[in-house]
């Protein structure tokens, strides 16, 4: 085939730019990405666009069905619960508590856990070994159980839940980053870099970090989903956010008695959780695949 390129050199994208290019080919992934951005925006500006204030109770509209059902009203688009609280507003406010809380927690855990993991991974001998076994111990306890244990010491509450989830996520990140850095460190191109006289910081910046992006992406996805699941589960068990707060899990535990009377109060908050986690999983998996392909 004739080459119409006037210039001698082909433009070659950097691996990450190439990964982004590959990701854009993935239609479902792009839809999910836009949905994720939508949820993020909703989380930030939620309080301004919610139709009712957070603690607004309308006594004249108890247990209204969603607007598309026969007895529903358009004022309460998703219906109301047993105290006359508008479900749509509650779910929008809940996005801040559930998704926003999980997002911040995971971000903090990512930063702090990665720093510890990188320091551990770059070092060797006693220091690394102690860290390794300590993390193994912590990771042998499932994250939710760890969170429950921490809650049992701190006492129930929304802030304590976030703290517990943060502490439970920390070993996950540290361990994964530690592993990735450690594995990368023993590869030949790093040894070549070291023989060239590169300082550890330079090896980290140019040799290791670009090659473990995939670890960061997959761990962040996992952490984000497990953070949302843990926060909602703790809320559901009554150990997390307490009721005036419309945290999605807490909302669900409240509606246990309404299963028969008002099924929409059960299905809708749960659907919010399911869709959020689904979107995160799709975006994360798509990004991971694109990065893996972009590396080749």
């Amino acid at each position: 085939m004739a080459n119409h390129n006037v210039f001698r050199e082909d433009h070659i994208r950097s691996p990450l730019a190439h990964s982004w290019f590959l990701y854009q080919q993935n239609t479902i992934g792009m839809v999910a990405l836009w949905a994720l951005i939508f949820i993020l925006i909703l989380t930030v500006i939620g309080p301004w666009i919610a139709p009712y204030p957070m603690d607004h109770k309308d006594v004249s509209a108890l247990l209204k069905a969603p607007s598309w059902v026969e007895h529903g009203e358009v004022h309460f688009f998703l219906g109301t619960d047993d105290l006359g609280r508008d479900l749509l507003s509650q779910i929008i406010y809940g996005a801040q508590l559930t998704f926003g809380g999980a997002f911040l927690t995971v971000f903090l855990a990512l930063v702090i856990g990665s720093v510890i993991g990188i320091i551990g991974g770059m070092s060797s001998g006693m220091q690394a070994s102690v860290l390794h076994h300590f993390l193994d111990t912590l990771l042998s306890i499932p994250s939710l159980l760890l969170a429950i244990i921490i809650i049992s010491v701190l006492g129930p509450g929304y802030f304590n839940t976030l703290l517990a989830v943060f502490l439970a996520l920390l070993p996950l990140f540290t361990r994964a980053v530690y592993r990735a850095v450690h594995d990368e460190l023993n590869k030949e191109y790093i040894i070549a870099l070291r023989l060239d006289g590169a300082t550890p910081l330079r090896i980290l910046r140019y040799g290791i970090l670009p090659n473990i992006v995939e670890t960061f992406v997959s761990q962040t996805t996992r952490a984000l989903t497990s953070a949302i699941l843990d926060i909602t589960a703790l809320g559901f068990l009554g150990l997390g956010a307490q009721r005036p707060l419309p945290e999605w899990g807490t909302m669900l535990s409240d509606t246990m008695e309404l299963v028969f009377l008002a099924p929409w109060t059960v299905t809708l908050p749960g659907l919010a959780i399911l869709i959020t986690i689904l979107i995160i999983n799709i975006v994360g998996e798509g990004l991971r695949q694109a990065i893996l392909k972009g590396m080749d």
Partner: protein, 321 residues
């Protein structure tokens, strides 16, 4: 092999030791009725001796020793978890094989979509949905509990399915089916996590094995797909699945705690949550140590089982890979 077992046991003991230190430090922070002499080392020594002799303290809520309480309710949880694993293997392996054989095809796409849903659904919400549809709407399954109130089954092993069959009551088969019905929905909820994991693993390893030359040789011999899978594919594809299944045990156990709360299953989940409400710290701590130790034990057991079943893994151990 023997040396490996010793090494594995060693790691197990060290992990338990670390766990007990963490629990001890937590206890020092919280519990006041534990007499502190001010010297951490001698306190810890007394603490660990009490633990080793099985004395987890007395529950403030029930007045019984904590260990007695745990042993009385833990079989209910364990029964649920084991059933979930059985179901996950029964569903997961065939689905994984179908998905692995038709990689990129419609069947694969369908199964992987359902798997993605399974990973993303919160267990307690799924439990409520099932309850709404199957128990309240259709009335096929009971809403809560382990067995109908009409049946009086003496506790022998703590596993209802076994106890009902062991009992000498005239209605023992009815009781058996009743407890099966009670088990159905919680098991289904609990099985989602290990099932998705089994499907993913089997799909990946079947997909990998089917490209290998010995499969082509089997095809050249004239075996059909079913025979190839049965005689060659599965034998090489299944062993790597075992350790990942074992690692799921911890997650299944915690999910069981949530599922139990929804279905009022008298297991360790509601018991722990209740202890936290009541600030019954010796019960919380005993429960935590017990569950963590059990998860560690399960992990070690799967490691050893994997070693027994998978010769390739044994070779790795001796540096012969």
């Amino acid at each position: 092999m023997f040396i490996y077992i010793i090494r594995r046991l060693n790691v197990f003991v060290i992990t338990l030791f670390l766990l007990s230190v963490v629990a001890f430090l937590l206890q020092r922070q919280v519990i006041t009725d534990f007499v502190n002499t001010g010297n951490i080392l001698s306190d810890y020594q007394r603490y660990i001796l009490a633990m080793l002799s099985g004395n987890f303290g007395t529950s403030l809520a029930s007045g019984n020793p904590v260990l007695t309480d745990i042993l009385a309710i833990f079989p209910a949880t364990l029964e649920l978890c084991l059933m979930a694993f059985v179901v996950s293997i029964l569903i997961g392996i065939p689905c994984g094989i179908f998905a692995g054989l038709s990689r990129g095809g419609a069947v694969d796409y369908g199964i992987m979509t359902i798997t993605l849903m399974g990973v993303s659904v919160p267990a307690f919400w799924f439990a409520m949905l099932l309850m709404m549809f199957f128990s309240l709407h259709l009335g096929w399954f009971p809403v809560s509990g382990r067995i109908g109130l009409l049946y009086d089954i003496p506790v022998i092993t703590g596993f209802n399915l076994i106890d009902t069959l062991l009992s000498t009551k005239p209605y023992k088969y009815e009781a058996f089916f009743d407890s099966l019905l009670h088990l159905a929905l919680p098991t289904l909820v609990l099985a989602t996590i290990p099932t998705t994991e089994v499907i993913r693993q089997v799909r990946a390893s079947i997909g990998e094995e089917m490209d290998k030359n010995y499969i082509k040789a089997a095809q050249a011999k004239g075996l059909n797909t079913f025979q190839i899978i049965k005689r060659h594919g599965l034998r090489n594809a299944l062993p790597p699945v075992i350790p990942s299944l074992g690692l799921q045990f911890g997650r299944v156990l915690t999910t069981a705690m949530i599922t139990e709360t929804v279905f009022s299953w008298p297991g360790i989940g509601p018991w722990m949550v209740n202890s936290i409400y009541l600030e019954d710290h010796s019960a919380i701590q005993g429960g935590m140590l017990f569950i963590a130790a059990f998860v560690l034990l399960a992990n070690m057991a799967t490691d050893l089982l994997h070693l027994l079943i998978d010769p390739l893994k044994r070779n790795e151990l001796y540096g012969k890979s």
